[in-house]
């Protein structure tokens, strides 16, 4: 089983420096990409079927294709790596950032070449202190060895790269909120259109991509689209970093073929549930994905298959609910998070999420009232796609709407018994 993304990563060890990275074949893809035209790079990546690993799953090649190209295109163009990993339950980008920073830099050089970007930013969450240190060191090495700066590896192409460490807030992970944060503003979302590909940072064409997505690029360029598709068990190419947290025997993170099943990840890699506990449900891809239950254990974890059963692959890091953890309490925790992180820009989000969080908290504390379930259901409708400015609120109510479906009896018990049965 090939594990291109994590092959150089030694847990707890130092990341490879530039020389060590080159020794493992690093920066060969950069040299190759610099000999290719942007259109050729774009074509390979389109053929590879690479889709965004940040949660939305947008096809990378298609995202690039909206960027104005050629001599008439506005400059500078920007490439932004979204390294603002803040989706609760998600811990995959940290591994790539800390474990192999040159892989990300190389992926960014290739992406920048594909869209003819002049300046690249890594938008890094402020708490990722070790990532910041290692990225800064790697970027300095890359400059010193002419992989960044003017006339990269004698190609005539240039790229500057900077790390921006953020000052917090989940909204910064939202594409247009991130752009505002990078411009030194509050991270409210922007209206689309214009899309960032046309008018992003400071009004210039901009591409925003997740860490894991970018890290795939060197391998696609080096080995080709067919190889990349062959890594996967499904129609979505590549490998995927899958994780599991919660009360499993061995919580962790594994690079597996795209399309590994929930059961395989849960039982084979995470070692199954801790002794004495039973599996009740799973958020397959972070906090803002719908619960799946025991009926779904054999679902392949890829973009299409998870969607077919009513949830999303999201970030691919699963949060497991066991039978001794209260599903209502879990929803109360989740909606508290989303309500707190709402930027307040649109009404369903700031009002609806706060209301839902308050109802859930009351229910947990034994103050649930008849009609509360219906109130919660209304809020999931109120915050649904099409009613809000960005994707925060629709994502926020995904775990709640599915919990109301799968764990309804638990919500009812809270109201009837006027207490949380798990306390």
């Amino acid at each position: 089983m090939e594990t291109p993304l994590t092959k150089n990563i030694r847990p707890e060890g130092e990341p490879p420096d530039l020389k060590a990275y080159e020794k493992c074949g690093g920066y060969q893809a950069t040299r190759k990409a610099l000999r290719m035209s942007p259109a050729e790079i774009m074509e390979v990546v389109k053929q590879s079927t690479l889709r965004g690993r940040g949660g939305a799953g947008f096809p990378t090649g298609m995202k690039w294709s909206f960027v104005p190209m050629g001599e008439a295109a506005p400059h500078p163009k920007y490439l932004v790596c979204n390294a603002d990993e803040m989706e609760p339950g998600t811990f995959k980008d940290r591994l790539l950032l800390e474990g192999d920073p040159h892989q990300l830099i190389e992926g960014m050089i290739i992406a920048a070449r594909a869209i003819e970007a002049d300046i690249a930013y890594i938008f890094l969450r402020g708490e990722y202190v070790l990532s910041a240190k290692r990225l800064e060191e790697a970027i300095q090495e890359a400059y010193a060895n002419h992989y960044l700066g003017k006339n990269i590896a004698g190609s005539g192409c240039s790229l500057d790269m900077y790390v921006h460490t953020s000052a917090g807030r989940y909204m910064c992970g939202e594409e247009t909120g991130l752009l505002n944060a990078l411009e030194g503003k509050r991270a409210n979302p922007r209206a689309k259109p214009p899309f960032p590909q046309v008018s992003g940072l400071w009004g210039k064409p901009t591409i925003v991509q997740n860490v894991e997505t970018l890290c795939n690029l060197p391998h696609i360029i080096a080995n080709g689209a067919e190889w990349f598709k062959g890594l996967s068990r499904t129609k979505n190419g590549g490998t995927k970093l899958y994780g599991a947290s919660g009360k499993v025997k061995r919580p962790g993170l594994w690079e597996l073929p795209m399309g590994a099943t929930i059961r395989e990840i849960l039982e084979e890699y995470a070692g199954g549930m801790r002794d004495g506990l039973k599996f009740r449900g799973v958020l397959p891809g972070g906090a803002s994905t719908d619960f799946l239950i025991g009926d779904h254990l054999d679902v392949a974890m890829d973009f299409d298959e998870v969607q077919k059963v009513g949830s999303r692959l999201g970030t691919g890091t699963m949060i497991i609910l066991d039978d001794r953890t209260c599903p209502v309490g879990m929803c109360a925790n989740l909606e508290h998070f989303f309500a707190q992180e709402s930027c307040g820009w649109c009404t369903p989000c700031w009002s609806g999420l706060r209301y839902a969080a308050r109802v859930l908290k009351a229910m947990e504390e034994g103050n649930g009232q008849p009609g509360d379930i219906e109130k919660l259901e209304y809020q999931t409708w109120f915050c649904a796609p099409g009613h809000t400015f960005c994707a925060l609120a629709p994502g926020a109510v995904e775990p709640l709407q599915s919990a109301l479906k799968y764990f309804r009896a638990d919500f009812e018990r809270h109201i009837q018994e006027k207490r949380c049965p798990w306390r």
Binding site: E85, M86, E87, P88, G89, T90, F91, D93, R94, Y121, R125, G126, E127, Y128, V129, L130, Y162, H164, T165, S166, A167, G168, R169, Y170, A181, L182, E183, G184, K185, R186, A187, W202, G243, A244, S245, G246, K247, P251, G252, L253, L283, A287, T317, I319, I320, L321, D322, T325, G329, M330, N333, L334, F337, Q340, E341, C343
Partner: protein, 154 residues
């Protein structure tokens, strides 16, 4: 007054952006790294340095939870209250921390040694529950051993 060192650090960051205002979040973080927090006076100085009004800058500052607009203790304890840590025992960790420190979330100890704050998911969910103290991540927290962790910070 911003110190020469602060100004030099802000200038370095400023070179990464096309205009002065865009560096304002970095600038506040730089000042905070030297002074612990961003006072009204610091805020005015930064704003003036970047050609902004203090109110405009405060409008940015108040959005971001890692910009401290109130004094904090010598060490800031940020305990993760997001879902994986909640499942793995956040409540017991938080109860133990508030009891050991004698303060609630959002407060600072009388000796100004610690400020206790909740933080969202720290991206180390396979080692939950976790917290950060200053720049250090502490994983797999055991409520019984928190006092020895706190002891490392004087």
């Amino acid at each position: 007054m911003l110190s020469a060192e602060e100004q030099a650090e802000i200038q370095t960051e400023m070179a990464h952006y096309p205009d002065k205002k865009s560096v304002c979040i970095d600038a506040m973080k730089i000042v905070q790294s030297h002074r612990g927090w961003v006072s009204d006076e610091n805020l005015r100085d930064i704003a003036e340095y970047l050609g902004m009004s203090a109110d405009e800058l405060d409008g940015v500052a108040t959005f971001y939870n890692l910009i401290f607009r109130k004094p904090v203790g010598r060490h800031v304890v940020m305990v993760c209250d997001s879902v994986s840590c909640w499942i793995m025992g956040y409540n017991r960790v938080c109860e133990q921390l508030t009891s050991l420190l004698g303060i609630q979330l959002g407060e600072t100890t009388a000796d100004k040694r610690f400020t206790l704050l909740p933080i969202v998911c720290l991206g180390a969910c396979d080692d939950a529950p976790v917290m950060m103290i200053d720049e250090d991540l502490h994983r797999d927290l055991d409520p019984q051993k928190l006092d020895s962790v706190l002891d490392q910070y004087k």
